[in-house]
Structures are given as structure tokens and as C-alpha cells.
Subunit: 214 residues, 4 copies
DNA sequence: CAATAATCGAGACGGTACGTCACGTCTTCTT
DNA sequence: AAGAAGACGTGACGTACCGTCTCGATTATTG
């Protein structure tokens, strides 16, 4: 099977192109755009290739030629649109660095892109390629930035040197994802702040710290 | 639309039953069992009513007569099977109460039932009834027990009185759900312990601490 | 594979019907009628199941449920419409019996049904079921009548007792089919008469002739 | 539309050729050969331009550049291969002249070329160009020879002077085509002989002749 | 000898119909 | 009245070819 992430490549490669009519960049973009647009309206399973093709003004076969299935298409569409937002600021304090980015994430989850993320995580439960694409294209890039942010915190003495960064980050983001996916509780900016306080407070080096929550 | 939770009632109600053949309990159970079995193999969107009916040796209409849609069926099947496990022990220490239950949860997520939970959360992303059913039938019963467990901790002085219990519980369970759904990192018993350590802080029992926060 | 000719049976059988919703006679007839109508406009290969279903106000699956392919559908449609015309008269003379029926056939070939026959013979060249259906449902019933007609001629002394009836009939009808399919020459009533004259020879009634040609 | 018969000309024409790469004779032949080969295996409607091009090692556009449609391609392929056999002998007797050639025809119909003829007549039912090509390229050349043969018979006194040659020939060949296309009866050499006897016997000038068929 | 022009192969393109599958509804007979 | 059986209209699936359209490469004539 074609590699999901290779569906539209020759981006970084040499331009050694074989014979035949070259792939239409216009069609490719129209398909990806239509996918996102439709995904924003319906869910994963309500998105049909037929609708994507029709909306993009493209033959169904052109979609199937380049993406083996719905999941690959969505993953690619999502990856090629990755929000330029969601970067980590460098405010000089770990708490604000994290909480500001997390507030952004919450805002994204609430918007149109939230529906898309939800659709991807939904579809990903029965398609390992899709969930993998989400990890590699959405989660990891941000997590790399998060590592850097945490390291700054360590340097400043805001975190213990031996902190388990993945555990810490999951403790910060896990509750957001959980509330986002299960919708059992509100996802306010205040929630983010108190979450940071709770988790980051615990991760401070040995000092007098406030107790769990408030 | 028929109430999801009313799909299989008249259980404890008055037995004023109209004329005609009564509902076949045998068919009802066969359908629910088949639903779970199939859900354990495929995902949410790969489960078809057609297959459920065939596997249960039941007419398709019988399924549709009692459950308005796939989500309701799955929710009902899931609810009627709710694991008798996943209770909270009372070990005398908050840390062990929580970590032991969380370890059980992780074990459940890894097994056949994990696939079912995954399917429900997947389907729930585009069906509010389904995600609501998950909350009400799976999440809340356990959370009620968790509240009791936390209250014991408060009584014992392991937690501050004014702790935000939902925030705390989400901080504990969020990372588990996140790793379960995104599969970006391992979900070992050790992970659970360190997660509890991080979030509950020195609410650990083993060390002499004058109080929870100081 | 389902027997072509059994597609719509239980016609002569006992009505032992199993459970389940019975087949819709209305849908069946609408499909067959639409098939003939469309076949009269386009050729064999221009007829699409999709158009038949749409025109009949029927689901595509309903067509495929009962007819395995286009050929079977056409054969059945054709058979269920078999012209009530094209019978052989009994005029008391072989020549007129034959020539009158042959003129009718020529007229049929020229009309809307001719297009259908043409389509069937066309499709039959790459589908043995279809050509077989044509033989059994169209050719044979008429040929049986033709045998009777010829036997009357024998009884009257217009034909030798040991005449090869199939050879004789092919000599009469072959030229008609040939001109019909290859369209290389006209197919007038006069042509039919002279054809009968040539092949049947002095089997003509009207004139006292010692031999075939004088 | 391009003239069917002009698809591959400039053979006998003026060689005033413009600039540009000349047509590849090699490609042309490969296409025609592949067409016949494939036509011998499948029927008319199962032959795809795609397969022809692939089998000939040629681009699809090269086929479409020179032949406007499938029918034209097949007609051209068929014409360019016209059997060098099927000539009429001059044995000194009409009966043998005809029956020998007819036997050859039957043999051809039974072989690989028979499938091709069948495919052409099949396709011709919904394409007047194709059936016309069959008439002009296959039927007429032979019929011209047949006329000559019949004229020899007239000269020898074996046929009446005023015989309708087309009617006579259709009576001889019609049964063969009919049996070939409808496959309702065998097509043996003996059949040919008895057919000749029946039809030619009738067409003799005034003499004592045997009655219809044996 | 360069410029021009038509062909070649390859193969992507927007379409159409294919034959299949599951949907949710319905109509029958049976329990 | 509910059961199973299963046919119904609907609509998306993923595939196969259609006939058209770029591509780069090739092979002629013309300037």
C-alpha cells in the first residue's frame, strides 16, 4: 500500500519525473481542501469520497488513485493544513508558556478544526494509519516544541532535572483530550490554569508548594 | 426518538402489559451479546446491524424495533455488560486506592473490552447520544465511587478539603484515556504509579508527612 | 447461477412460499417493461441496468437480485413479451401458410420489436445463455408451429414425406435473418414471395404444374 | 468523423507529406493485429481500447488518433486481414463450385475468424458503420465472385437466365449465417450439400427434378 | 543545421456504469 | 403483537474503461 505520508510527495526529492501526464497539483489541493471542509461539517463516517470528489470537481478515481482509503485522505488533508498556530511562547516562566499554549489548543478544539481532530481520532480508533498520522503530524511537532519549553523550565529551576517529560505533558494534555472527547465537563481557560497549577506545581523541585489544586 | 436508556425497560416497572406476543427476552439478550462480540472484533463503523441480526439469529426488524440506531444498540449493549470490576478498594491510603483501580482500568482497556470502549468513544464523536450513554453508564458510576474514595482521603488529611475533585480525577484519568486513544506511549502499571505520584503528590502513604501540602 | 428462465417462476409450480416478504410482481413487471422500452431505443450494449432501474422506479439491487446479468434480463424481458402474433394460418396451401407468416415476421423485424431481436442476437454472440433463450423462447415455439404446417403440406402431397424440415425452414428463414442482420438487401413482401417460390418450388397451390420450375 | 476506410491510407495517394514525425507503420500494424487477436478471444463489447493499446505496446491516444471508435478499429482490422481463402473454384459444375466455397465458409466460421465475424455482426447491430464495413469488405468481394460463378452456371444451362442472383445467393448463404448466429442446428459439410441441392435444384431450368429436399 | 511540427509512449484527468453492500422500511407467514 | 425471513428503494462503495489531455522524447520536413 502506498505510504500515507507519501501520497503527495516529490516535495523534498529530486524532480526525476517519469513519462506521462504529471499529477495535477490543482486537483490535489482541491481534494484536500474539500476533505477538510466536509470533515468540518460531518463526522468521519459521514464523509464520503463521492462527496469529496464532487465538491472538488474531480473524478472519484482521481481520489482513489492517490489515497488508498478515507483515512489516508483525511490524514493527508489534516497534515497539509496543520495549523500554524499552537506554538509555545517564551515568556520566561514555565507556567505561562504552557498555559498560554494550552489555552490556544482548547480554543482550536472548540472551533472548526476541533471537529476535524475529533473526526480523526474517531476514525483512528479503527485505522492505525490514521491515528499514526495524527501522532506524527499533529502531536509530535508540538511535543517537540513542548520539550524545549520544559527544558527551559528545568534550566530556570522551575522543574526537577529528572522530570519525566512525557508523563508530565500527558498529565497536562490528557485532561484536555479527555474532556474534548468525552465532553463530560467544561473546557474553560480557568480550567486550563488550574490544571497547570495542579500538575506543574507537583513537578517543581523540592520547595514549599501548594497542595493539590487550589 | 426512543430514549436510549428505555430500550430495554419494563424491567422494574408495572407489569401492565397489552395484548399480543410479549417481547422475547431471548432475542434481546442474543442481540446485545452479538453486538458486543462483533464490536470486539471490528470497530464502530464496521459493525453492521445486518451482521448483528444474523449472528443473533434474529430478524433485522427486531433490532430496529427496539433500538433506534446503531449507537443506541451499542450503548445498551455496553451498559448491560458493564464490568463488575473496576471498583475502588479501601486500602486506607488514597494513593493505593486510586492506583489500584487505575491499574485495573488500564488492564481493561488493553483487553477485549478496550476495543469496545474505543469503538464507543469513536462512534460517540459523531453521535451525542452514544457519548452521553458512555458518560452516564460507564464514566459516572465509577466517578461516584471515585468521589467517595477522594472524600476518604480528605477525611484522612491526604487532600485539602477544597480540592477540585473533577479536575483531580481528570488529571489522573485523562493521561490514561489519551494514551489509550492516541496510542503514542506505553500504558504500563509503572506509568500508572508515576502518574499518581505526579498528580497526587506526596499524598503517597509511605512517607511521613505532617500534612498534605506543607 | 440462477437459471435464466427461472428468474420469475413459481408460475406453474405449487405456491409453497417460504417466509419473508414476497417478491414484488409490480417491480418485476416494471423492470421487464422498462428493459424492452429501452432496448427498443438503444442497442444491447447501450442498455444499462442503471437506466432500467431508474426508469422502472426500482433499486438497482432489485434488478441484480433476480437477474444475474444484462443478458438474462433481456432474455427474460423478451420472453415475457413474446408476440402473440406470428402464428401460422391454415389456408389449405403450404405456400400461403408459409408466406403469410413470413411476411408477418418481416414486418415485426422492421418494427420496434425488430430492434429488440437485433439486440438479442447481438448480445447473444458473446453470451450463450442469451442466444439459448432466444432459441428456446422465440425460435422454437414458432418452429413447432412450422413443423405442423409442413406436416399439413406433406399430408396434402405438397411436400415429400421425407423432407428435411429443419433444412427447409432454414432455407426459408435464413435469408430473412441474413438480410435483417446484415442489411445488404431489401426485405419486401415481394422478396418473401419469391423466396418461398424458390425454396418451396411447385409447392404452390394455385397452378397445375408438372414440376418445380415450369 | 473520419472515414472508416480512410483510417490507414496515403497508401496509394500522393506522397505530399507535411513536416512532423510520420505515422508509425509499426504501431498501426501492432494495433490491428492486437485487435484481431483480442476479438478472437472475447466478443465485441468485451474488447476494450485499453487492452488493445496495452497489448500492442502503444499509447491509447495513438489508437484514438487514427480510429474514431471501436467499430472503425475493428472494421479496419478485419478488412486488413481479409482471408485470402474463400475463393470460388471453377470445376465446370455449378453445384460443386458453390458447395466447395460454402464448405470453406463454414470452416472459416467455425475457426478463430468465425469469432471475429460473429463479433463484427454483433457490434454491427448498433453501429451502421461497422455493419457497412462488413458488407463492403467481406460480403461484397465474395459476392462479386459468386455472381461470376452463377453466370458461368447460366452459360452452361444450369440456371435459368432470369434467375434473381441475390435471392439465390441469400437462399444459399442465409441458412449458413442463420445457423452460425443462432446456433440452433449443426453446420456440417453434409448440411451444405443438401442445402445446395435444395436451393440450386429449384433454380434449374425446366427439367424433371426431385422434389423439395431428399 | 537549427527550427518547427507531428508523432510516439505513458499515464493522469473528469466522467459513467459497473456489481456489491448495508441501510432502514415493508410485507408476508408463524408463534 | 412480536417473531424470522427476506424483498424493497436508496445511496456509497471501490473498480474498470471511456475518450481527452498533458508530458518528455523522437523523427521527420523546412528555412
Amino acid at each position: 500500500m502506498r505510504q500515507v505520508s507519501a501520497a503527495n510527495n516529490d516535495h523534498g526529492g529530486r524532480n526525476a519525473r517519469g513519462p506521462g501526464r504529471p499529477r495535477s497539483e490543482q486537483a490535489r489541493l482541491a481534494i484536500l481542501r474539500s476533505t477538510l471542509k466536509i470533515l468540518g461539517k460531518h463526522g468521519f463516517s459521514d464523509l464520503t469520497i463521492e462527496e469529496v470528489a464532487a465538491h472538488a470537481g474531480v473524478g472519484k478515481a482521481t481520489v482513489y488513485r492517490w489515497w488508498p482509503n478515507k483515512a489516508a485522505l483525511i490524514a493527508d488533508a489534516f497534515a497539509n493544513s496543520t495549523t500554524r498556530a499552537l506554538h509555545f511562547p517564551d515568556t520566561g516562566a514555565l507556567f505561562t508558556d504552557m498555559s498560554q499554549q494550552m489555552r490556544q489548543l482548547v480554543k482550536v478544539f472548540r472551533g472548526r478544526r476541533g471537529r476535524i481532530v475529533s473526526a480523526i481520532l474517531s476514525g483512528g480508533q479503527s485505522d492505525r494509519d490514521l491515528i499514526a498520522a495524527f501522532r506524527e503530524r499533529f502531536l509530535m511537532p508540538r511535543r517537540l516544541e513542548a520539550y524545549a519549553t520544559l527544558r527551559r523550565g528545568i534550566r530556570r529551576g522551575e522543574l526537577r532535572k529528572d522530570v519525566d517529560m512525557d508523563l508530565l505533558l500527558d498529565s497536562l494534555y490528557g485532561p484536555i483530550y479527555m474532556r474534548f472527547l468525552i465532553r463530560h465537563d467544561k473546557m474553560t481557560p480557568d480550567f486550563v490554569d488550574r490544571l497547570c497549577q495542579l500538575v506543574l506545581g507537583r513537578a517543581q523541585p523540592s520547595r514549599k508548594l501548594p497542595n493539590a489544586s487550589r
